[in-house]
């Protein structure tokens, strides 16, 4: 049957017919006999069959090789952390479950390794084995941010609620990492690990009471605590001069930069308490406070109470000295005698507040130094409790002591409705005049020309 609109490449005739040769369809030119086109010999789909081998029932489905490797990695991690068998089993179950889930089946092998670490982490948390995310990231040698992201996704998928780890619990496990016992380091640097841990835990508890731990990563805090504990166990000149860098080198741990800041903060807190020790004559500074650490930690609750009392007395005196009204002077002495007698600190703090508020209300609107002390240039009364509790309290987190300066609200904000007229002159200030535009374009050209000359 002649095929229209086809021409033979050999002779140019349009007389082409369908001719099947041995069941292979062909288009043949009648005049010269050349084959114009032919069909496929076999009707198999290109690139293999429509059903892949792994989907067919030809072979039993073997467990994925990466899954097996992942499970072995989980086992290895558990062994290196020396956790008990239950945690190992639980983490393997979790890993198998998470691995099969659609959000983890197709991720990179690196992420699958991180997933293995996260499974170990969550199993440790569920079975009350204290461990930090920082330790896991170190073990896996992975970015802590990536570990965090994978951990959160995994917890969402597996629907687990893991209890939160306390820093004091993790302290013991963490201090095992520091190789600072007698056979490992020279005698002058050695420390008994039990004593070291005990003192470091006490330092961490002190830090927890004074707002150093809240909101911070646990590992640098623990490092700072162990370093200070080690220094204070034998406060020789040599040890006191030993920097954090060198300490980490001999203990064979990786140094964290944040640990330096934590050391300064803990030393400040120790100084505040050290000043209250009755038998210390010299001034307590961050340089010499390490010698007093043993005494401070032993009597820390008593020193804490004394420090808070002294601080309140100092505040009351300041308020009293600067307030000009007599009613407040009468009430103030009675209030001073109370804080000395009581041990509960909350109510004495509240007594300072009504004193200050009375002063504010009875003041004649002149710049009262007492209120200036509390308001820091803020005129909104409702902000007073928020901004000044950092100055009022002896211990407060750094973000409250040094608050960010908020830009002052413009008064015209109240009149804005959203639909006002916008004048032309206002808008013109945002547009270049044609001359300016030409100059700008010229300068851009010159700049790009000089840059291309240089390169």
């Amino acid at each position: 049957m002649p095929r229209p609109a086809l021409s033979c490449p050999g002779c140019g005739s349009s007389n082409i017919v369908d001719d099947a040769l041995y069941a292979q369809a062909q288009l043949v030119c009648v005049d010269c006999g050349s084959v114009v086109s032919e069909g496929a010999l076999v009707d198999d789909p290109v690139g293999g069959s429509a059903v892949s081998y792994s989907w067919s029932t030809a072979v039993d489905k073997k467990p994925c090789a990466n899954l097996i490797k992942g499970l072995q990695r989980v086992k290895a991690l558990c062994r290196s952390l020396r956790v008990h068998g239950e945690i190992e089993n639980l983490s393997q179950t979790n890993y198998r479950q998470a691995y099969q889930h659609e959000s983890f089946i197709k991720v990179s092998l690196q992420k699958k390794e991180v997933l293995a670490g996260c499974c170990v982490l969550v199993s440790c948390r569920l079975l009350n084995w204290p461990i930090t995310m920082g330790t896991i990231s170190c073990l896996l040698d992975a970015d802590p941010m990536v570990v965090g992201a994978v951990y959160q996704e995994m917890v969402k998928i597996l629907n687990i609620t893991a209890p939160i780890v306390n820093v004091t619990d993790v302290m013991e496990a963490h201090s095992q990492e520091y190789k600072i016992c007698s056979p490992q380091v020279p005698e002058e640097f050695a420390a008994n690990s039990k004593d070291l841990t005990k003192r470091a835990v006490a330092l961490v508890e002190l830090a927890a009471d004074s707002w150093i731990i809240t909101g911070r990563r646990p590992v640098p805090i623990m490092m700072a605590a162990i370093y200070l504990a080690w220094q204070s166990l034998q406060p020789t000149k040599h040890r006191l001069k030993f920097s954090l860098d060198k300490f980490c080198q001999i203990a064979k741990v990786n140094k964290h930069k944040a640990a330096l800041k934590r050391i300064t903060e803990i030393k400040e807190v120790l100084c505040k308490l050290g000043r209250e020790i009755p038998w210390v004559r010299e001034a307590v500074t961050p340089d010499n406070v390490v010698r007093q650490v043993e005494d401070i930690l032993q009597h820390r609750y008593a020193l804490l109470r004394r420090a808070l009392r002294t601080h309140e007395e100092a505040l009351l005196e300041e308020c009293q000295a600067s307030c000009e009204d007599s009613p407040t002077d009468d009430t103030a002495p009675s209030e001073i005698s109370e804080p000395v007698a009581q041990t509960k600190n909350s109510s004495s703090a509240e007594q300072c507040e009504p004193n200050a508020e009375r002063a504010k209300r009875s003041g004649d609107g002149d710049a009262d130094p007492c209120t200036a002390l509390e308001l820091h240039g803020d005129t909104q009364e409702s902000q007073v409790p928020a901004t000044n509790w950092g100055k009022r309290m002896l211990f407060a987190p750094p973000c409250v002591i040094h608050p960010k300066k908020r830009r002052m609200e413009q008064p015209e904000l109240k009149d804005v409705t959203g639909d006002e007229e916008i004048s032309d002159s206002e808008i013109d200030s945002y547009i270049r005049t044609p001359q300016e535009a030409r100059d700008f374009a010229l300068v851009q050209k010159m700049l790009s020309a000089s840059e291309s000359e240089k390169s």
Binding site: T132, M133, G134, G148, Y151, Q152, T161, I164, V165, D209, T214, G215, R216, R217, P218, L304, L308, N345, S346, A349, Q380, E381, S382, Q383, P385, A386, W389, M393, F395, P397, C399, V400, R406, E409, L413, V416, T417, G418, D419, E420, I422, D424, E426, I427, D428, S429, Y430, I431, R432, A437, F440, A441
Partner: protein
């Protein structure tokens, strides 16, 4: 719950994000050339324009979609957006201000007490989540008003929501829960 306190809680709106369309194609190079306070980002395909009077930064795409950020109230955002549309009009584009919508509002509030985050998370599982090693705040998501609240242990909270009304109701909802888990501020 607010009326039971002596002091009203001050909710300070720090950022309002709004979008609108100009219904016409914009030539970014012209804007970059003839506009003042303009930064051209050819690799991202947009132009950043900063206005002075309501302090706003706008990302302008050539399709005519514009996102304004940095306003401190919804009305402010609208004035800024209209000023921007007017500027583009003056530059010669046939701009029609349309589809103005406030997309996100960020507000900050400070409680007069500190908060025990671990308690708060335990009482409000699974709406609240807290991972101290990753972020110092606990996150509390209210699904039906689409608001997210980040609670810090110092008592400050940041609230993000689709509009100012939702943000205010989110603060009202979360206040009693925070009040239960407060920590005395001394010590």
């Amino acid at each position: 719950m607010d009326s039971s306190n002596d002091e009203a809680l001050d909710i300070i709106i720090t950022n309002v994000v709004a979008t609108f369309r100009t219904r016409c194609h914009l030539n970014l190079r012209t804007i970059a050339l003839e506009g003042i306070n303009v930064i051209y980002k050819p690799d991202m395909g947009k132009v950043l324009m900063k206005l002075r009077k309501p302090k706003i930064t706008a990302s302008i795409w050539s399709s005519g979609k514009i996102i304004c950020t940095g306003a401190t109230s919804e009305d402010d955002a609208k004035v800024g957006a209209r000023r921007l549309a007017r500027t583009l009009q003056k530059l010669g584009f046939k701009v029609r201000f349309s589809a103005f919508k406030v997309v996100n509002v960020l507000a900050v509030c400070s409680m007069p007490f500190a908060i025990r985050l671990i308690d708060f998370t335990k009482k409000n599982r699974p709406i609240a989540s807290y991972e101290p090693e990753l972020h110092p705040a606990a996150t509390y998501r209210i699904k039906h008003i689409k608001a997210t609240i980040q609670v810090f242990s110092t008592g400050s909270i940041t609230v993000t929501g689709p509009n100012v009304q939702n943000v205010a109701s989110a603060v009202e909802q979360v206040y009693p829960l925070l009040f239960e888990c407060q920590k005395p501020r001394c010590k």
